[in-house]
Symmetry: C2
Subunit: 361 residues, 2 copies
């Protein structure tokens, strides 16, 4: 078992990573006998995991209710979140309840935001079941739902009480979703850790084959990197913005193509290529490094170009709604080397458009 | 001009109380030239105040947009809040925008919660236009919307950057709304400040006649009391719960009768009588003090009984959804004297039911 702590003073919390955690009642600390909890999951995952997790919790003496939501990014909305509140109020659950997010990023983001809002804040536990949520969205307390005009536009910074990562979940994950998670894994290498990028170049095939040892190391390293960034900048006023590499471009793809048609990691992969090309055109990132990024992304089974149907111009209105925009000016995360990156404002729109054109499908 | 500070470390903020503030560009600090802001108000208030406030802001060089919501507690919902997000995203407004809540408690609660959630948190300014919001809901950072199954069940603790109280607003306030505000004023006297209760007994007629000097003192004293409580217990883990006197009973009335049919202060007034009777039946509050509370509430033009149509039993399911409920047990705010109160759990339901029956209309 691997355990990391996200250091945030009184709100510090553990991330536990291992195989077989769902069979262990102790995995779901700090829940204890007599506590009340609401499991939130989706229709796809409920038949696979719900009874196992409920059984483990009930063995501990926790009273568990459940709410099962439809599956998909298009359901990450305020109105679907209201179903969680309805379930909580019907029982009813008090301010001392705990929400458990059992699922991928959609369930984690929505449940975390519901926990932030229900009675102005109740405890929640992240139980991420996809690689993407295990290495990224379950750690760090960013919670949100989407608005028709922009992704993750409505949310809160709200930290979980614990994150429980059972890597056995990846065995039932569709290949496309596994690849989507690898996009965020590769992102950590590009923005923060050149050695980890090299490790990925050497071990990507083991990750694709779900080798237990390689996968546990990979998830642990990503969580460590994310935990460091979050501890340094919980509310994204500085370094945390680097975790957005590829996301400003990628969110435009997701918004334009309709949420759920392009997976988040796929859009981020194409977006990272656009960021790399933007950096190259600015003279701060070499052609050789662009090629290394492209090769690794392609080996992971991820797109290195955006959708054919989207003109470069069609990205901009979406990009201008990015949360990093300040005083009407775009701010982009751009690599300066493999393992190093910066937030840059004042990049000419023509360069951004040309870089997007470089990556048109 | 009266100015009080709510002391919350980095998140401390001023409350400014005076007549004529809407004509003063400087009232809306910390907004400055070049800032972007979104005024949120309702259909009733827009014709009276919108242009004046916009004009003052535009004189400062603030770029102001507006969103006008329907008027009424029944519109304090997630779906109406989504209209605010739509307006913000259509312009678009970035993370550096400021929301301005121009209105009563409904506008303040909804706009504050929208500010807490938009892009995971933007700045907001409270500009309360009703007595109730001036003395209570605009101070302290409790924001929320309602759910069909319970009032204020979805929200956040989120502090404004400033509160601007122009007492001239009270001149256009319907008498029933003025009385509703006086319910919260009387509440402060009962729970925290016996001297202020005596002052109210002596000056209630001046308040009902909107005497400027008496009203400014009254609002200032209520804000001071609230600011002290909030500074001591921002997230309602202790003393802040006292501010809920009458609310557990009152929320049951509002929920059962349909939000908006009974005004919040009217329901709280009847609820305070039920709390007083509960305390009397427990032997901790004298009959003479019950009578003083009843007399003052009645003089303010407020109900001292609940709706005839509600049986005592019909209150309980609503009361059990109260946010103070812990481990399935009701916790009630009860007076122990005029100017002193406590949170008490373990009160037998029969006593609660009998006290409600004492106050049946």
């Amino acid at each position: 078992m691997e355990r990391i702590t996200v250091t945030l003073g009184e709100r510090s919390y553990p991330i536990t990573i291992a195989s077989g955690l769902f069979e262990e009642p102790a995995s779901f600390l700090p829940l204890k006998a007599g506590d009340q909890a609401m499991l939130v999951t989706n229709e796809t995952l409920a038949p696979i995991y719900l009874e196992r997790v409920k059984h483990a919790l009930e063995q501990t003496g926790v009273r568990v209710d459940q709410v099962i939501l439809p599956d998909g990014e298009q359901y990450k909305t305020l109105s679907v979140m209201e179903q969680v509140f309805t379930a909580l109020l019907q029982k009813p659950h008090g301010r001392d309840t705990t929400l458990i997010a059992l699922g991928g990023g959609v369930i984690g983001d929505l449940t975390g935001f519901a926990a932030a809002c229900y009675q102005r804040g109740v405890r929640f536990i992240q139980v991420p079941t996809t690689l993407l949520s295990q290495v990224d969205s379950s750690v760090g307390g960013k919670t949100a739902v989407n608005h028709p005009l922009g992704k993750n536009m409505i949310g809160a910074f709200y930290q979980p009480a614990s994150v429980v990562v059972d890597i056995d979940c990846l065995k039932t994950l569709p290949a496309r979703e596994l690849a989507s998670g690898l996009a965020e894994v590769i992102k950590y290498g590009i923005i923060l850790d050149g050695e980890f990028f090299v490790w990925l170049e050497e071990h990507l095939d083991e990750l694709l084959a779900l080798d237990n040892k390689a996968m546990a190391y990979c998830i642990r390293r990503c969580c460590e990197l994310k935990a460091e960034v979050v501890a340094a900048d919980e509310k994204e006023q500085g370094v945390r913005a680097l975790l957005n590499l590829g996301h400003t471009y990628g969110h435009a793809i997701e918004a334009e193509m309709g949420y759920g048609n392009w997976l988040h990691g796929e859009a981020v992969a194409a977006g990272m290529m656009m960021a790399a090309e933007t950096a190259r055109r600015l003279g701060q990132f070499s052609e050789a490094d662009v090629a290394r990024v492209r090769t690794l992304i392609a080996r992971a089974g991820l797109p290195v170009t955006g959708p054919k149907s989207m003109t470069p111009e069609s990205y901009l209105p979406h990009m201008m709604r990015d949360k990093k925009v300040l005083a009407g000016e775009l701010r982009l995360v751009l690599p300066t080397a493999i393992g190093q990156s910066e937030v840059r404002s004042g990049v000419a729109h023509e360069i951004v458009l040309a870089a997007i054109a470089d990556c048109r499908g």
